[in-house]
Symmetry: D2
Subunit: 301 residues, 4 copies
């Protein structure tokens, strides 16, 4: 996803300083765009570079954001100590909202600039086409400053509120998504067991009060929609372990804020279990339908 986003920044006429563990990816970018791309070996070298004003990070989890951005001598923050100008940190990773706030506070306290959290939705396809949605948490001024940069990579740039609320929006949406997908899978699996054709059930649900994105746009039952992972053996799409990660972020935030999640907590267990089941870790999260439904086949024997 990262290199697709960088491409869109480059297309907007901006130059970039890039660091990636995958050096092939950065070498390829440089071959393609020449002097507009500077490859460096450490996050600190990004932060130390004189010609940049913003740092965009897309990382797997909270601990990577902390280690790349603020912890230790190789971090962006450490590198930035030699600069005169402040930096705008734009973290597009999906992480714990409280970590997002904590990282931002450390950057501000160190007097190195500002930070916004700006997690993404829209998937690899959206990254490619530059139609991503960014959910942004942070100060109004920082948001305004970042907006043109974000618009080079995405289409829908929403200011959600104070620092952390970008992450909050992302994990609350995905909490609901993860629940809906299991709900759709249960409803269709039960209906089919009781003798209704999935296409008929989809037509009814999609024009009734059960209507939701997981049924209408991304139906998990093979053959109901074309062009979705369910109709391609659950290949591509949004992987089970990623959904497990997002639901566990929501559950962790719920524990910290003493907020009850009667369904979200169970949904998190379902994806956690599924991501550890043989053959599911590589599949789209709609494969929860397959999991419930394959059981039926075993049952019928």
């Amino acid at each position: 996803m990262g290199s697709r986003m960088v491409r869109n920044v480059l297309k907007s006429g901006r130059g970039v300083v890039v660091h990636d563990l995958d050096q092939n990816a950065t070498a390829k970018l440089q071959a393609e765009y020449g002097a507009a791309v500077v490859c460096v070996n450490e996050p600190s070298a990004v932060g130390a570079h004189k010609d940049i004003w913003a740092v965009v990070s897309v990382l797997p989890a909270s601990q990577h954001v902390k280690s790349v951005l603020i912890d230790g001598p190789k971090s962006v923050l450490a590198g930035s100590k030699t600069r005169d100008q402040p930096l705008l940190f734009v973290d597009a990773s999906t992480i714990d909202p409280s970590v997002a706030k904590q990282v931002r506070e450390e950057i501000v306290r160190a007097g190195r600039g500002e930070m916004i959290d700006a997690p993404i939705s829209g998937g690899v396809g959206g990254a490619e086409k530059g139609t991503l949605t960014f959910m942004v948490g942070g100060e109004e001024r920082a948001f305004t400053q970042a907006r043109p940069l974000l618009e080079s990579m995405g289409k829908n740039i929403v200011h959600c509120g104070a620092n952390g609320t970008g992450q909050v929006a992302k994990i609350c949406n995905n909490l609901l998504l993860g629940i809906s997908m299991i709900g759709v899978s249960e409803a269709f699996n039960l209906g089919m067991r009781l003798g209704i054709a999935p296409q008929v059930l989809a037509a009814i649900i999609n024009s009734s009060s059960g209507r939701c994105w997981s049924s209408e746009v991304y139906n998990p039952v093979p053959g109901v929609l074309s062009g979705v992972p369910a109709s391609n053996d659950y290949k591509g799409g949004f992987g089970v372990p990623l959904m497990a990660k997002d639901l566990n972020l929501a559950l962790g935030a719920a524990i910290d804020s003493k907020t009850p999640l009667p369904l979200g907590s169970v949904a998190a267990q379902v994806y956690t279990l599924l991501s550890q089941q043989q053959g599911y870790a590589q599949l789209d999260f709609g494969s929860v339908f397959k999991f419930l439904n394959e059981s039926n086949h075993l049952n019928k024997k």
Copy 2:
């Protein structure tokens, strides 16, 4: 709901023979429509009436459908034993699909005609305006025969498949609806606890993958939408005990067919508990948000 449906049948130029435990309701109908309305004291008198060809029933639960339609000397079936012509039974109640099939089999076995299950969605408003949806399970011929009658009361008449599948469609939709509403409530409650405004979160979710009827059309957070129960102290709408009933129908059907419902089973417990909590039994099922959120207020003290 029943008398609103009868009015629409009468408006279509048909006469009716009515039985209702609430004799005021039937008296009122007769005063209004005169000879087109015949009031009788027992279900059997409906079945025995020479001038009818179809019997429409809307009853609270499986046991009522059995006792009114087929069990004992006062049932419609008992009354119908004196007729020459077969009857078409149209049961618009929401009940266990296996009971729907069993009642139909008994009617067919007795040689008294055919039956379709035709549960309704669309609420009291839809009944009044004649815009109900009927989800119909039954033989093609019976469906075709019933269609004009159903069209006098509803707008969307869907043939779902064999007997019982009308009920299946209804309970599968409501299973998903019940899950979605709790999911929306959890996501908004968590988000608000973590500092995002519900209107902002609604805007994001409704244009993203968490989008669903419960968030977009019937949002359970007071003030997000106008004209919904949540913005009127959860008055009106679809009551908590009705949702508990429908989810327990789904759970019962799942037990019978050995189908796992990891979220549906928990959702059923939530509404069962809620329908027994002081002050919730009279509220719309979106009050599950209030339940989760009021807890927060207690917590903050």
Copy 3:
């Protein structure tokens, strides 16, 4: 289990009239005990036999109890119509308490005698040694009459109350057992993942407030106890599908009585899913530990 129970009745000096779908089993009994054993081909022939005063049934599920005892011309009830003397029906199956009451009412209404529900615990081992527990629901008089017969097969004969309460006691115990076993599996799996040896954890739990039969007597972690299914590849013991059946009986009774089961409902889903997983249907219900723990291995790869 049935033939082991019959043997104990025969050892007590009583004669028996037996019916079993497995005719080898009954033939073997007759070869062994001669004239004390009469084999018959239909349940009705049991009920019609002049020399008996009690009928003991052990059947898989509610529908079998209804069909063998009261429904149709081949039932025990039908056969008993020719007798002068009343019969005492002793149903040792585990079934829905409301069905137990309904079957009993039909027998009493037909004037053919009395019935008690007397489900068993203690397993195949207890049946062999005659150390079963019978949980009895029914009239005091019927209980007193049945007691000597039950004592020939079991050690612990408990009168639980009115008809149906024997079933209630059985399913409530097994509801708690099914929950405890998953709880133990979760606690040990989590502990082991976090680095504690299962033997050490068992020693602590078994002398502390987590102590329960599932941990102390029937621990599901291989190697913690010897002589239990967990230490024999989960062979023998109480099968996953049987636990699924009992939890679903509890869940069905909870639906009928509008009683919330927040954990029981989830436990029922776990065993339902597990009984449909490849390789688990034949295993002891403690294999829920294996299911949770094998996932870990996949995870570690």
Copy 4:
């Protein structure tokens, strides 16, 4: 609990240096024991005191342990920087196992001594009588050194393994306890709804496979046992919010280690909700029975 533990240390002939936010408590101790008790105003003053060799802490949660023991200039660690001799830190709080390990590492890295985690079970009564159980995680040498001190306060001192495993043992036991208590409450509530007397059900369960501490020793149904919170309006005992805290610790550790907790996650939601229900926050955790059962009363009206 703390001052009861201090008293037992004093009774064993040892002197103590105490710090407590509640200065009345420490003043009282000093009045009673004179020179054997030294009261100080900051944790750092404890660490700096020349005459001590061990520091015992009992604190509410992870963040307090970090702030009292290692963070900032007022921490015990900061105070200890002036000493020659190493200290043995004994943390008897119940906290996140990973925090326990992290705090210990910081102490060792600072060269200030060793630490063991030694959470307690046995309640206020056990603290008073000196019959507590300590579950100890840490190096063999540190365990051996601490043992006589722990024996002055408790009866059962168990070495669970490496650092953190004391916490693991505690939260795994309480995870199982929290699940069992809800399981017992569901089973008894369902049984009573279906007509069995709780004393009869207790007798059966306690001699059968449902047997557990929550039913046998601490039954949550009023009147089944005397001398337990359930028979005293759920006063005293182990509060709902404490159980919520421990289950959420288990759930947090499960998230970090990607371990599924199908029942534990729901149990955590139940206690989280309950601790926020009007009138439950002050009650023993067995009041989950009251919660499920009061609903019934509402239902019956």
